[in-house]
């Protein structure tokens, strides 16, 4: 029987301790990703992790795969270039909520529209953690941040609905509390061809939690646990309650042709010079 790979094949243990705050779920998400890669037995040299800026942008420092730490919001732009340059590689873009949807908002919608074969893993902690807790495109309406001390007046982006509308092939949402589900969705997204999004609802006790959730790191995690419910439970709620919750689960799973397949079809010469068929 073959020996099962460990997350240690993908996780750089010598880089410990992690830089993130006590109670930040980024480490949990990192474990889920490295566990998923180990389950899929993808050799680390065939994986490129593309990151932007922010707390979660540091994740590539802790991985033994290839890494490309680019500029703010551009993880998908660099990822697109990497994928087109060598389609055999598995490209995973790690972005925070601000990185993916504000600074890199245009890259995000067009990567989904193009359906480029990249797995986007978004760590959504509802705030800009690294720069001091400003409100982000996913901060829930009326929640307090350093730049909205009496409550944010803008409705939040629904990352998953946006991804679906723009054309992503696979869209799933889980949380850093639901760790086994999170790993399962990440593995499914990595295996699937096309643009695939996993949104991981994350904890930020330092900024988001301190201003909005009475209590400590555990209460921050309880908040994440309580706002996340399955689709069947969500549909039974009234409108007021719906606004306070997020649906978890596999929300989209379809097979639109990905960018490279379409490109090769309309431009057969590209297949002849291409370096492979990818996954």
């Amino acid at each position: 029987m073959a020996v099962k790979l460990s997350y240690r094949e993908y996780f750089k243990e010598e880089a410990l301790p992690l830089m993130w705050c006590a109670g930040c779920g980024n480490g949990i998400l990192l474990r889920a990703i490295t566990d998923a890669l180990a389950d899929l037995e993808i050799p680390p040299h065939q994986v490129v992790v593309s990151t932007g800026i922010g707390c979660w942008g540091k994740a590539d420092d802790y991985m033994k795969t290839h890494g490309f730490h680019g500029s703010h919001g551009r993880a998908l732009a660099f990822g697109t270039g990497i994928k087109l340059g060598n389609p055999d590689l598995h490209v995973i873009a790690l972005m925070g909520d601000g990185d993916a949807l504000a600074i890199g908002g245009n890259h995000f919608i067009h990567a989904a529209r193009r359906n480029i074969d990249i797995t986007a893993i978004i760590s959504n902690n509802f705030t800009y953690g690294m720069t001091g807790g400003q409100y982000s495109p996913t901060t829930p309406l009326s929640y307090k941040t350093t730049t909205s001390p009496i409550g944010v007046a803008e409705p939040a982006f629904d990352v998953c609905s946006l991804s679906e509308e723009c054309g992503a092939n696979y869209v799933a949402r889980s949380t850093v509390y639901h760790v086994t589900q999170l790993k399962r969705f990440i593995a499914a997204a990595i295996q699937k061809k096309g643009f695939n999004v996993v949104e991981a609802i994350n904890t930020c006790p330092t900024h988001f939690g301190r201003r909005n959730i009475p209590g400590d790191t555990v209460e921050m995690m309880n908040y994440v646990k309580e706002i996340s419910i399955s689709k069947s439970r969500y549909e039974k709620l009234d409108e007021e309650e719906k606004a306070k919750h997020l649906v978890t689960g596999e929300l989209v799973n379809r097979d639109r042709p990905d960018f490279l397949s379409v490109y090769r079809e309309i431009n057969p010469a590209a297949s002849e010079t291409g370096r492979g068929e990818g996954k």
């Binding site: 992690l18 480490g27 566990d35 400590d216 555990v218």
Partner: protein, 72 residues
């Protein structure tokens, strides 16, 4: 390094990596852990451990390792 053993499971806690977030203590279904004064998890009820490993997976700092020693 705390190391406590029963016949099936060994739990290692790296005190230098632990940031005392308390997730393992709070979210263990069988209440294996208790906090010391500093917030560090102490393994109090190892006999109740079901080896579900959720504490290890939910530790944001890779400070917990749950190991099965008698896996026959």
């Amino acid at each position: 390094m705390t190391k406590t053993e029963n016949k099936d499971v060994v739990i290692h806690i790296d005190e230098t990596l632990c940031k005392r977030c308390g997730f393992c203590i709070e979210f263990c279904n069988t209440k294996v852990y208790e906090a010391d004064q500093d917030g560090l998890p102490l393994i109090k009820n190892l006999d109740q451990c079901t080896n579900c490993r959720l504490c290890e997976l939910r530790c944001p700092d890779f400070a917990i390792k749950v190991e099965v020693v008698n896996n026959e």
